[in-house]
């Protein structure tokens, strides 16, 4: 009788040992799976952020293709008519037209001057600000564009490199 009791206790201990090992293995795999999932989710979040940013950049570049901006001199989808922009800024009827908090065009290359463009200093200037309705617009999104105009000497087309910056609820 005593022998039977001792045997049963040993068996129970063995089953317990096995159960502990199984539980430990399951916990281990659960932790590994958790780490793996965390890694995958963080990667997905980063990819989603990049895609969202690219989409927003596309939207900013689409602005360049709108009839108010687009260059009609030659076939170019991403080209902005710089002369048109300068005239557009003076038009009061275009105030609030884009429904944006900030819209600015910067001349990147070649560098011809600094500061905001006016009739007096053009072409020796750098930026043309079309909308600046609030000081709290955050970080504007930007896209590269070609800025084209008719050069007065010889009346030929000349395109330079520029950037369009936009911020607002529409672009996020």
């Amino acid at each position: 009788m005593t022998y039977y009791y001792a045997g049963s206790s040993k068996g129970q201990i063995k089953i317990q040992q096995m159960a502990f090992v199984l539980v430990a293995i399951i916990i281990f795999f659960a932790i590994v799976a958790l780490f793996y999932l965390m890694f995958r989710v963080s990667n997905l979040k980063a990819d989603a952020a990049i895609m969202q940013e690219n989409e927003a950049k596309e939207m900013v570049q689409k602005l360049a293709g709108s009839p108010e901006f687009s260059w009609t001199g030659s076939e170019c989808s991403g080209c902005i008519d710089l002369d048109k922009i300068l005239v557009l800024r003076e038009r009061r009827s275009y105030k609030g037209f884009w429904n944006l908090d900030y819209l600015m065009i910067e001349r990147v290359y070649p560098l011809k001057g600094e500061g905001e463009c006016t009739k007096a200093n053009y072409p020796n200037c750098k930026t043309v600000t079309l909308v600046n309705s609030t000081s709290n617009y955050g970080i504007p999104l930007s896209a590269f564009v070609a800025l084209c105009s008719i050069e007065e000497r010889g009346s030929f087309e000349k395109c330079e490199l520029g950037k369009i910056y936009a911020a607002g609820k529409q672009i996020k």
Binding site: F29, C76, G78, Y109
Partner: protein, 165 residues
């Protein structure tokens, strides 16, 4: 009893070995999936190349002021043409592209962008030929890349810009 203990020990070691192998396989999968992140496609760079192709250079091929666009200058460089000013199309193209890239991104050892590689190649069904390569600074582990295709029958001119951080 001693033999049983040995068997248990072998079993335990076997379980550990299996767990380590599974862990290594998982790690391998994770590292493999991480590698594409090293080379990211950038919409910003593609937009830059698209706009840069429209930039009017200082090179006129036939008469002034019919200055060539950078996109057309790539074709002329491939044909080894010369501008009216006697400068080579490739020389003007290289100087213009260097100016465009350096004005658009601040590149340097102490800057987020450590260097860049611009490769312009002519690709057709039969061959792939390098037209121009511009390299500046050092290229680290992370690369952002953009590509722009410019038709030049019977092939295509491919401009590929890599920004390294």
């Amino acid at each position: 009893m001693n033999r049983k203990g040995q068997e248990e020990g072998v079993g335990f070691v076997l379980i550990i070995v299996i767990v380590v192998i599974v862990f290594l396989i998982l790690m391998g999968i994770m590292i493999r999936q991480k590698s594409p992140d090293v080379k990211k496609e950038s919409r910003d760079i593609t937009q830059f190349l698209e706009s840069a192709a429209e930039y009017t250079s200082d090179c006129a091929m036939r008469y002034e002021p019919a200055y060539s666009k950078v996109g057309d200058l790539m074709k002329e460089c491939h044909r080894e043409s010369f501008c009216i000013s006697k400068l080579g199309a490739c020389e003007v193209l290289e100087n213009t592209l260097r100016g465009l890239i350096d004005s658009s991104w601040q590149v340097g050892a102490n800057r987020p962008i450590k260097g860049y590689i611009l490769n312009i190649t002519y690709e057709s069904n039969q061959s792939s030929e390098e037209i121009l390569a511009i390299i500046k600074g050092n290229c680290g582990f992370e690369i952002r890349e953009g590509e722009y295709l410019y038709p030049d029958a019977p092939g295509t001119i491919v401009a590929d810009l890599k920004l390294c951080s």
